[in-house]
């Protein structure tokens, strides 16, 4: 078994390298992805080994990056685009929502756009404005896109492989503050399907559902709760579009209670959809309303406030307590 312990960042780098080795049509595009290897070094060493023709430093224009990636995909390439930080994806939003998401349908299936857009997202790294946002709901709402976020190194490796293989556009949200978290990666195992959720910890009293950076937080919360005698199940959703409601539903049917956790603002965040749909599916199983823990309806705050803004153990457990109190 080819199992190695590596951080998420390295798992992504390894996965990109493998995809490039296996398919000459795979390209990397973005700002500073070449010599520098990206500001987070996710593409480190790739330009050196695959050349400037396949690892492309682009002009500083996100609409241009995604727009030309679409053109390259039309020509048969499989571009993997890096957006430097979450807050800089919006200049490309029109190309993503209006073209990338809709061209397959517009062509009645004749055009396929296997484009991956990698976005290091979410907070917790003490950064300045626009470097800590969680915009996933703004993409998941849009039909034609798929959205995923790994929470650990093995998923980072495999989900990137699967995203690149996908013939649909995938917005790949990378939990930047977890880049250095290490985990075992088995490059010869058989991975879960890209859009399947997974029970990351079993429990009986309440289900915590999360994805990306908040999975770790939820696992820690579950541990803390266990010390207090509460048994929490943690579902790693992994995919925000589609959402694997079946897995969440099965868990809630067992536990009767659900708290959804994400960094993105609660209002119209992905948690609202989980709450609405799981309530519909589990109306007679729920002993408490689905509660949500997430960001506030405010711009992401300056770094010195982010610990207050971000859902942490205490806020998760506060919601757990409230749900259990029903």
């Amino acid at each position: 078994m080819a199992t190695t312990k590596m951080p998420i960042a390295k798992a992504l780098n390894t996965s990109l390298r493998k995809a490039m080795e296996e398919d000459p049509k795979v390209l990397i595009m973005g700002e500073d992805v070449g010599k520098l290897g990206g500001v987070f070094r996710i593409t480190d060493g790739l330009q050196k080994d695959f050349g400037e023709d396949r690892v492309i430093d682009t002009p500083l224009a996100e609409s241009g990056i995604v727009g030309t990636a679409i053109g390259l995909a039309l020509r048969g390439y499989r571009p993997v685009v890096e957006i430097q930080f979450d807050g800089f994806v919006f200049p490309a939003y029109d190309q993503i929502v209006t073209q990338l998401a809709k061209m397959h349908a517009r062509s009645l299936g004749k055009i396929k756009l296997p484009v991956v857009i990698r976005i290091p997202y979410a907070g917790g790294i003490g950064a300045v404005e626009h470097h800590s946002e969680s915009p996933e709901a703004l993409f998941a709402h849009v039909a034609g896109l798929k959205c995923v976020s790994p929470s650990n190194a093995a998923d980072a490796y495999w989900m990137m492989q699967q995203a690149i293989e996908s013939d649909d556009p995938v917005i790949f949200f990378e939990p930047k503050r977890r880049y250095w978290d290490k985990g075992e990666v088995d490059t010869e195992s058989i991975p879960d399907p890209l859009h399947a959720a997974r029970v990351a910890r079993q429990g009986t009293d309440l289900t915590l559902a999360a994805y990306g950076p908040m999975v770790k937080t939820c696992l820690e919360a579950a541990q803390a709760a266990a010390d207090e005698g509460k048994s929490l199940e943690v579902v790693d959703m992994r995919s925000m579009s589609p959402i694997d409601f079946d897995t969440v539903q099965r868990s809630v049917e067992r536990t009767g209670r659900l708290v959804v956790v994400h960094e993105a603002p609660v209002f119209l965040g992905t948690g609202s959809e989980v709450a609405a749909r799981i309530t519909e599916r589990c109306f007679y199983h729920l002993e408490a309303p689905v509660l949500r823990v997430g960001g506030f309806h405010a711009p992401y705050p300056p770094a010195r406030l982010e610990d207050e803004y971000l859902p942490g153990l205490d806020r998760v457990l506060d919601a757990v307590d409230r749900a259990l109190a029903y």
Binding site: G64, G67, Y77, Q99, S241, P242
Partner: protein
């Protein structure tokens, strides 16, 4: 000049207005008007053949007649589509009336393996690429959002959001270069679209990567109700130089000049010299679309002046003068037009409405659980009516 530091600097205060600005602006406008650039022209509005030092062209009689045929059939198709809209067969139509030379000339400069990225008005280009004309009408009838396979004729789907396709063309051309292929790509857009950031970014990317793409801007003088002065205060072809590639303005109602200039531009692209911008100076003779009423914003005289420059009459005058087209030929084209129009009309009328379940197809190539769920629920919902009409009365009226 103030050179003191922080402390000495007084709080900013705005001073009152002056009239300086207005008069200077007026001077500017006058200077601009004088600087109107020359067009590349090979055929005058009267049908005289003229030469241009940079752009020569030598066509066989058959080729010349072919251009005439293309333009006449395209115009006829366009008129038929307008009529079909009036008759309620189409929801909308965007006429190319007046732009036949720009479209036919540029499209006939292309090779089969070149790739075309159109706007929503390139019916003449589509014709030259071999897209069956009736296929263009699906989206205007509302039965689909693009009714042909782009790869069958290397003719991309119509793009409605203006300017976006310039980037797709650039990316495609970057791929052509990567493949080491020697084909070219052409992106069409309008004078209005030239203001979009995406078009500027396409200029930047194509220049930086030396991509084999020709930007073909049909400056038809109007973007719905806005004249070109709302988009630029200098001729649009001049935009290119500042991005590091050449631009040229061509008489967009002169099919020979459009052909010659586009040919030169695609040859340049194919031989690795990178992008070029062609501005075809032409005129939108009709309304923006069938929903538009140009009498609200432009004067008839303008249109009338452009009628004298009609692209078809001009070529016809030349053909007749040179004895390249006899009445028999001209009649045969008319007859062919009639047949084509009839065929198109019948084909459109026969277009079936899509099946409701088609809504759930093609959102994704690899499937999506939510779409499956919604498809299933909607099918059940539809089925419930069948049940009801078997049994009791329907619950509501209409959908």
């Amino acid at each position: 000049m103030t050179v003191e530091g922080t402390a000495a600097r007084a709080k900013a205060r705005r001073s009152g207005g002056t009239a300086k600005r207005a008069s200077a602006a007026k001077k500017k406008t006058a200077a601009r008007a004088k600087a109107e650039p020359q067009l590349v022209q090979l055929l005058t509005p009267e049908g005289e053949r003229v030469e241009h030092p940079d752009y020569a062209i030598d066509l066989t009689p058959e080729e010349l007649r072919g251009l005439y045929r293309d333009m006449v059939l395209t115009r006829r198709f366009d008129a038929e589509a307008t009529a079909l809209q009036r008759q309620g067969e189409l929801g909308l139509w965007a006429s190319l009336l007046g732009q036949e030379a720009a479209q036919i000339g540029s499209a006939r400069a292309l090779h089969d393996d070149d790739y075309v990225f159109p706007t929503y008005r390139e019916h003449g280009v589509a014709w030259c690429r071999g897209v069956p004309p009736e296929n263009l009408l699906g989206m205007f009838r509302g039965v689909n959002n693009g009714g042909w396979d782009p790869n069958s004729n290397n003719f991309h789907l119509y793009t409605i959001v203006i300017g976006s396709q310039a980037l797709h063309a650039t990316g495609y051309a970057m791929g052509v270069a990567k493949d080491g292929a020697d084909s070219a790509v052409i992106a069409y857009f309008g004078d209005g679209a030239s203001s979009q950031g995406d078009v500027a970014e396409a200029f930047t990317f194509s220049a930086v990567y030396n991509a084999p793409v020709v930007f073909f801007c049909q400056n038809n003088q109007w973007a719905i109700s806005e004249p070109t002065e709302r988009q630029s205060r200098v001729p649009i072809y001049q935009r290119a130089a500042g991005f590091g590639f050449p631009g040229v303005r061509v008489d967009g109602n002169d099919v020979l000049a459009c052909l010659a200039v586009t040919k030169a531009a695609v040859e340049r692209a194919r031989s690795g010299e990178g992008p070029m911008l062609v501005e075809a100076f032409t005129y939108r003779m009709g309304a923006h679309t069938t929903s538009d009423d140009p009498t609200k914003y432009r004067r008839d005289e303008e249109r009338e002046a452009w009628e004298a420059k009609d692209p078809i009459l001009r070529l016809r005058a030349y053909l007749e003068k040179e004895k390249l087209a006899d009445p028999e030929f001209l009649e045969s084209i008319e007859a062919e037009s009639d047949t084509m129009a009839k065929r198109v009309r019948e084909a459109v009328r026969a277009m079936p409405d899509p099946d409701p379940m088609a809504m759930f197809e093609h959102t994704y190539a690899d499937g999506h659980a939510l779409v499956d769920e919604e498809r299933e629920q909607f099918a059940q919902y539809l089925a419930s009516f069948a049940d009801e009409s078997d049994g009791a009365a329907a619950a509501g009226e209409g959908n």
